[in-house]
């Protein structure tokens, strides 16, 4: 893209422009998701949800955000101040940067990286370091327990999450998201890779710390888990990070399994958003339906069920692809 002709200036301006767009989108999107979650959970739970601020309580989240911004930021006396300050940023920033590779249409993508969605997964892993140091630096037992659980959970579920996508990579022959989506113009990968889709959704739920895998913040056990000691906008950053992570996972899921921008009548970006929000809705639906798993059961599910099935899926896909090539 050329704006001024000067390469360095161009690059800087592009980064600022894209950065602004992404931050704006993320903020508005998170506000919308929080509102949607409240409304959906309310409908599931025989309630009305927020009603009074704005139409159907649409501005309630903004009111809450203002409340959170105006709150005092509390430093626990025994905390490690610098790391305590750093943790929310470390959680939020990587999730934010993951936006740059989501392809809204064939050409509408900020950076079309050839490592593709691996980049997203490596970034979301950085945010787990943030979660861990948040719990560690708080110097609170509940927070520490929460962050310990978070690390164990992340390490376990990263593997099935990646393995479940390998079948698609093998079929499409590329890690690049635009290639994978373009490959799906005849049929979506959910048709051929349905078991992988189930594994992906389960592992993505666990990666985003969502119920029934919300053990790092299990509020009935660990008060609030790793962010027990956080208040005000620092807490809000964790919250924002969580919702953005859900959105990113869903967007990746929509691109990998649901054909990304493909769809009749409507333009590509609209289709992608629709599919993403459908997955987000499923995630919320699951959250408000199931009780929480125990941490050891969570590990057993990852290592004894998801990983073997994902491996098996890769094997079957590999055999099918081999014979397809062999015969054609």
């Amino acid at each position: 893209m050329t704006l001024t002709g000067n390469f360095i200036l161009d690059q800087t301006l592009t980064i600022i422009l894209y950065g602004t767009i992404v931050v704006l989108f993320v903020s508005v999107n998170a506000l919308f998701l929080v509102w949607a979650e409240r409304k959906i959970s309310a409908r599931i739970q025989l309630r009305q949800g927020p009603l009074h601020v704005g139409f159907q309580g649409a501005l309630q989240t903004i009111a809450d955000a203002i409340k959170l911004i105006s709150k005092e930021l509390i430093w626990p006396r025994e905390s490690d101040k610098f790391v305590f300050w750093l943790a929310p940023i470390l959680v939020f920033a990587p999730v934010l940067s993951a936006f740059i590779i989501i392809p809204l249409s064939q050409h509408f993508v900020i950076r079309d990286l050839n490592v593709g969605f691996l980049f997203v997964f490596s970034l979301t892993n950085i945010s787990f370091i943030g979660i861990f140091i948040a719990g560690w630096s708080s110097n609170s037992k509940y927070a520490l327990l929460g962050s310990m659980r978070a690390v164990a959970q992340n390490i376990s579920y990263e593997i099935p999450l990646l393995l479940s996508t390998m079948g698609i990579v093998m079929a499409a022959g590329s890690l690049r998201l635009t290639d994978i989506v373009a490959y799906q113009n005849k049929y979506w990968f959910i048709c051929t890779q349905f078991p992988a889709f189930l594994i992906f959704i389960t592992a993505a739920l666990a990666e985003a710390n969502r119920a029934p895998f919300d053990i790092p913040e299990a509020e009935s056990e660990l008060v609030a888990g790793f962010h027990t000691e956080y208040s005000g906008m620092r807490f809000a950053l964790f919250f924002l990070g969580e919702y953005t992570a859900i959105f990113i996972s869903s967007a990746i899921g929509a691109s990998l399994f649901l054909g990304g921008w493909h769809g009749p009548f409507l333009p590509g970006p609209v289709w992608l958003l629709l599919k993403t929000y459908l997955l987000v809705f499923i995630v919320m639906w699951i959250r408000w339906t199931f009780p929480r798993l125990r941490s050891d059961q969570l590990m057993a599910l990852a290592w004894k069920v998801l990983i073997p099935f994902a491996m098996f899926n890769i094997l079957v896909t590999a055999i099918l692809i081999y014979y397809q090539k062999f015969f054609i």
């Binding site: 739970q45 119920a211 029934p212 299990a218 056990e221 660990l222 008060v223 408000w288």
Partner: protein, 547 residues
């Protein structure tokens, strides 16, 4: 387990072997006990061992302050038809002051005696010799008073706040001094104070967990944070003024506590309430039982991380509360029963409202069954967890749904029948596993049974008076024990009346107190997530434990 011969056995055994100093037969229908015996102090351990071997559980230990000595009163009862008996020992007051009196401990025989004896030590200053860790239980450890002694007259109100703050600070300091040393000794282990401010302790309970990673090595419930001293309060009030106290013990299921007090005084005075009153009482109590179980179910599933059932349960509970509000004018701390009657008659519109509620709630119970009881995650979380064996249930004196989850069909509505329960047709649901899941299923089934009871009597409420005539203001001199099946187990009241306008001593035997004590043996080996599930499954209400 226990044959019909046992009753004569234990009595004969007492008369032959122990040779009690005093012995008298009582009427179970009036005094609530079969016999009482005064035994020498040094024989109490032997008596307790015999009771334990014959399958009796320790219902309560309490003390009564007489001017010369303290009388320590043991109530033993049996699973199955009520065979309560009362054993007393005397603990003469020490002339030199501290300790006020001494008595032998029976903690090595009954685990339940641990907390009961600590409570007596707390309230009367009786030192139990042989108790492994005799310390205060309801009052702060640094307090210096023994409030249930007749010589204690209370302190001026202004000093209370300062005193309390001072005591709390001292408690915190002693904790800091005591525990870090033990942490250093075993460097992988640490202590976690779960509570008193914690989302899932259902009130102000502190669980002191000794942890290795997430695994519990040891757990100690610390109670007393909502202690208001109902027993002392009632000693300085007249009998009628005690009513509100019974609504505030277990605020979730207050109706059965009303029932217990009404039965106690009616038995003592020889009053038989009119039939309409009996029907109204059973109707409101069973509705309240449903409301209480619904609250438990919602919060229990919330503890397990299922948020949605909470709202469904509260939606149903709201309907029950609306019905009860129409009858009593209250939604939570019911103060509805009176001696020989109820406060006012039920309104006309209550019967159709209940008739509408019954089929709707049956539908809901089916939904709960589909959504929760058969949920895979729920089953995995609760099956085989928090095991309560029959031996432990006996040793701790566990009653109520927790006991029925361990396979013992003990329900005072059938075992010690009161009011119109003998005429009603209802089952006592039991499960044999003794785990968290069984206790859950038992409570859900109990809601169905309560619904069955309501359906039976709703059309048969006889017309008539809703209260009996004028009653005397005092209770005849004597000792009375009355027991009802509350939502949480058997709730007993022991009354010592000296014939005056105030009770001389009222002892409240609250079921959750013993039930909570039993989790000490259920928790070791659990993870933190399981602690919450086990605690939730015992269905405790803290104000009832702390009294």
């Amino acid at each position: 387990m226990v044959s019909t011969l046992v009753k004569t056995n234990i009595k004969d055994w007492l008369l032959e072997t122990i040779k009690p100093e005093e012995f008298s037969e009582k009427n179970l229908k009036v005094a609530g006990i079969l016999f009482e015996a005064l035994v020498p102090q040094n024989k109490i351990a032997e008596v307790a061992r015999e009771y334990f071997s014959q399958g009796y559980f320790l219902e309560s230990i309490t003390a009564v302050d007489f001017s010369e000595c303290l009388e320590i009163v043991y109530h033993f009862n049996q699973w199955g038809p009520a065979k309560r008996s009362c054993i007393k020992i005397l603990a003469p007051k020490n002339a030199s002051g501290a300790p006020i009196a001494t008595a032998p401990s029976i903690t090595s025989i009954y685990k339940a005696a641990d907390w009961f004896e600590r409570e007596i030590f707390d309230m009367f200053g009786v030192v139990f010799q042989g108790h492994p860790h005799l310390k205060r239980i309801l009052l702060p450890e640094s307090s210096t008073i023994h409030p249930l002694l007749k010589s204690f007259k209370g302190e001026p109100k202004g000093s209370d706040v300062e005193q309390c703050l001072k005591l709390l600070k001292e408690d915190a300091e002693t904790f800091e001094i005591t525990y870090p040393q033990s942490i250093k000794q075993q460097n992988n282990h640490y202590y976690l104070n779960m509570g008193p401010q914690h989302p899932s302790t259902h009130g102000v309970l502190r669980l002191l967990l000794h942890l290795d990673g997430e695994r519990v090595l040891d757990a100690e419930p610390v109670i007393g944070y909502s202690h208001r001293h109902h027993e002392k309060m009632m000693e300085i009030q007249n009998y009628l003024a005690c009513w509100p106290n019974f609504g505030r013990l277990d605020y979730v299921g207050a109706m059965s506590y009303n029932f217990g007090y009404a039965l106690l005084i009616e038995k003592a005075m020889g009053v038989v309430p009119p039939p309409r009153v009996e029907y109204i009482r059973v109707l409101t109590t069973e509705l309240n039982r449903i409301a209480s179980h619904l609250l438990w179910m919602g919060t229990f599933l919330l503890d397990l991380g299922g948020f949605t059932p909470f709202f469904y349960c509260f939606d149903d509970r709201e309907k029950v509360l609306d019905i009860l509000e129409a009858a009593t004018g209250e939604r939570l701390t019911y103060d509805y029963f009176r001696f020989g009657g109820v406060d006012h008659d039920i309104p006309q519109e209550m019967v159709p409202a209940i008739k509408k509620f019954i089929p709707a709630f049956k539908e809901r119970l089916r939904d709960y069954d589909k959504l929760v009881t058969k949920n895979v995650i729920f089953e995995h979380r609760t099956k085989g967890l928090g095991l309560l064996s029959k031996e432990n249930a006996l040793a701790y004196g566990v009653t109520g749904p927790a006991l029925r989850g361990s396979g013992i069909a003990m329900d005072l509505r059938r075992d010690e029948p009161y009011s119109i329960y003998p005429e009603l047709d209802f089952n006592i649901p039991t499960r044999t596993d003794g785990d968290v899941y069984s206790r859950y299923v038992v409570r859900v089934k109990e809601m169905e049974e309560s619904l069955k009871i309501i359906a039976q009597i709703i059309d048969k409420i006889p017309a008539g008076d809703f209260k009996s005539g004028k009653l005397p203001k005092n209770v005849p001199k004597g000792e009375y024990y009355s027991s009802v099946e509350s939502t949480r187990g058997s709730f007993g009241i022991y009354l010592v009346s000296d014939g005056t306008l105030n009770p001389y001593r009222i002892r409240l035997r609250t079921p959750s107190f013993s039930n909570l004590n039993a989790i000490i043996d259920m928790l070791p080996g659990c993870l933190i997530s399981d602690v919450i599930a086990v605690l939730g499954s015992t269905d405790i209400v803290l104000p009832e434990i702390d009294r």
